[in-house]
């Protein structure tokens, strides 16, 4: 046997960990990371490149003479900076991400593998069309899935995200109205809509008329009809989110669609919450004329910092002719890429072009991978599981937290209000900040605006029962703390995050949007940064 002759201790020490500050400000693996501008010097280059020879300037005297002032870092410095920064991020890959209305679901690694296949990853948008038939076939295949899942006849693939898709759909509606020679200037938007809906309508020059929510959180067809009558012949469209932002399916959606169509207007549906109904209901069957689909929500492509969004827009028969350029058409036995108006067939009247190219190719590959690997039955089950998970959270919390619209089943997300915090001295914001200490990204707060102190939780289908149980138990513990008067747990939260609660008011009133180098007279660089 070998002896421990070095005198190395073999058992952990028993002393309590001292509370102390460190020289570096780091707490072991929790590193204090300066801004990249504070690390890199602007007077050197981090990479050893030869001076280019014989450069002929062709900028007509517009060449930059001063330094760009960009920080220069070596590769290891750059790697460390971003790796350290990434460790301060909360991500779907590190924990449950219950942001309602965002569908922060798992991004399957198979999607990533497919997106990195060189035939997809390395193509350039300007290479000859004849060299990329596979890419166009993939776009056409994805378009076909989207149309089948939504029960529609056309799809514009190019919009880059949800709000861009809304703009695309509403521009198709505007074009349809212009083609008919009508003058319709009003868009109806329910109170529970996503904020981007009225913003899109306003951006396109429409006047927004709001429709109040019923006591049960849904839209009353009678209220829609009333607004149509009040604005006789002027209503261009209704923009509705279904399931709505209260996590409820609009039960009267067909009556609402009929009323809108009878008035000669169009029905735009915000498809951000499509994850609740994929494979269960087709928006086309519900009377929807245009709907964007967030591939980065419903079809599992990366979201937020992880990748660009993608917001294809499906169009009904009534709007199909107005889909923007470019698009792919099924010709005789082969696909035809329509790039310009000279290639249009009779009856095709695109409203214009929104983007230079066909859309977010990398996201198309990921979304189709998700669809093909799940199959239509798998997509349907994902929706069922998303709804089941939201209801599991609802039932786990409804005796302690308060449901504004009663203890009814919800769709893919569950909405609580803050009446359970009344008289505790704890606000929705405090509650959310305390969740950070528990290692959770907070749910969506203060949205939708139709309830007081909203907390909107969307667990998605990705979470296991064990994960949901821990989440529910954590929230129950927080609620009981608040109700038992432990306000300290909340009022200063987060205590354990790399930064404590930020001053939102000062950040909004006096935003510092640009880093400025500390002046040479500042001996203490840290003081200058603050």
């Amino acid at each position: 046997m070998s002896m421990n002759t070095q005198g190395r201790p073999t058992a952990p020490g028993t002393a309590d960990a001292p509370v102390h500050t460190t020289f570096t400000g780091n707490k072991a693996l929790n590193m204090e990371e300066p801004l990249i501008f504070e690390i890199g010097r602007t007077d050197i280059c981090g990479v050893d490149l030869d001076e280019p020879e014989k450069v002929e300037l062709r900028l007509g005297g517009h060449e930059r003479l001063s330094s760009l002032e960009l920080p220069a870092l070596s590769e290891p410095e750059t790697m460390r900076h971003y790796v350290r920064m990434s460790r301060n991020n909360y991500a779907i890959d590190s924990g449950l991400y219950p942001l309602g209305s965002c569908t922060m679901k798992h991004n399957p690694r198979l999607n990533e593998k497919m997106a990195r296949v060189p035939g997809f990853a390395d193509i350039h948008p300007l290479q000859p069309v004849s060299t990329v038939p596979g890419a166009f076939e993939l776009i056409a295949e994805l378009a076909d899935w989207l149309m089948k899942l939504t029960g529609t006849t056309a799809v514009a693939m190019s919009p880059k995200a949800g709000a861009h898709g809304e703009q695309c759909g509403m521009m198709a509606i505007k074009k349809a109205i212009m083609e008919k020679g009508e003058d319709r200037s009003i868009v109806l938007v329910p109170e529970s809509a996503h904020g981007t809906n009225p913003a899109t309508a306003a951006l396109l020059g429409f006047k927004v008329v709001s429709i109040p929510a019923r006591d049960n959180g849904t839209v009353d067809p009678a209220a829609v009809i009333e607004k149509i009558r009040e604005n006789d012949g002027k209503v261009a469209a209704l923009m509705l989110t279904n399931p709505n932002t209260c996590g409820l399916f609009e039960p009267d959606i067909i009556a609402i669609a009929d009323a809108i169509h009878e008035a000669g207007a169009y029905f735009y549906c915000d498809g951000a919450n499509f994850n609740a109904i994929v494979g269960k209901a087709k928006p086309g069957d519900l009377g929807v004329d245009a709907m964007h689909i967030n591939l980065h929500k419903t079809f599992s492509t990366p979201h937020g910092g992880g990748g660009p969004g993608s917001g294809p827009v499906v169009l009904s028969d009534r709007l199909a002719a107005y889909a923007p350029l470019p698009f792919i058409r099924q010709g005789d036995g082969e696909l035809e890429v329509v790039e310009t108006t000279s290639q249009l067939d009779e009856g095709e009247k695109p409203f214009g072009r929104m983007t230079a190219f066909h859309g977010q190719m990398g996201m198309f590959v990921r979304a189709l991978s998700y669809m093909l690997s799940h199959g239509s039955d798998g997509l349907k089950q994902a929706s069922e599981d998303a709804v089941l998970n939201a209801n599991y959270v609802r039932v786990g919390l409804q005796d302690l937290m308060t449901l504004p619209y009663g203890e009814h089943p919800c769709m893919h997300e569950v909405l609580f209000d803050d009446s359970f915090l009344k008289d505790t001295g704890v606000t929705t914001l405090d509650f959310a900040k305390a969740m950070i200490d528990e290692g959770y990204h907070p749910m969506t707060m203060y949205f939708p605006l139709v309830v007081h102190g909203a907390m909107l939780i969307e667990p998605t289908e990705s979470e296991s029962r064990a994960s949901l149980d821990l989440f529910v138990a954590t929230l129950r513990d927080l609620v009981m703390s608040a109700q038992q008067g432990d306000t300290q747990r909340f009022e200063g939260a987060p205590y354990l995050a790399p930064r404590r609660r930020l001053d939102e008011t000062q950040a909004a009133r006096k935003p510092i949007l640009k880093w400025t180098p500390p002046s040479p007279t500042d001996v203490e660089p840290k003081a200058a940064a603050e």
Partner: protein, 123 residues
């Protein structure tokens, strides 16, 4: 000078045919820390119910409506520079704009201070 209140939480102090308009103390408390104010242009003609100004807090963006018809004669530029004034002195120095009234009879539809207080108590 008489003071009137609207259900949308605007106050109006009327002197002759000019109303000074702002948001109530209740409104600023509900909004929280105000971080941005946008005023209407001078000379703009507004009808009852139109959006006149925008006020944003950390929590929410809201519109200030005109409860009566009129023409904007002056905006309180100090608020644009220092939106915090709306929280500090909402019913006095933090007025938003002055409106030249085109129909003073519309004031009859508004509340007085006691009625507004009773209205807020029901919310």
């Amino acid at each position: 000078m008489s003071t009137y209140f609207s259900e949308d939480h605007e106050w109006l102090k009327v002197d002759g045919d000019v109303a000074t308009i702002g948001i109530t103390n209740y409104a600023q408390a509900q909004l929280g820390d105000v971080v941005f104010v946008e005023l209407p242009e001078n000379g703009k003609t507004l009808s009852k119910g139109d959006e006149a100004a925008v006020v944003e807090s950390v929590k929410a963006a809201s519109e200030v409506y005109v409860p009566v018809d009129g023409e904007v004669v002056e905006g309180n530029e100090a608020l644009v520079e220092e939106p915090a004034k709306v929280n500090e002195d909402p019913e006095n120095s933090a007025w938003f704009f002055k409106l030249k009234l085109s129909d003073k009879s519309q004031l009859d539809g508004l509340m007085d201070e006691a009625a507004y207080k009773a209205y807020v108590d029901t919310l």
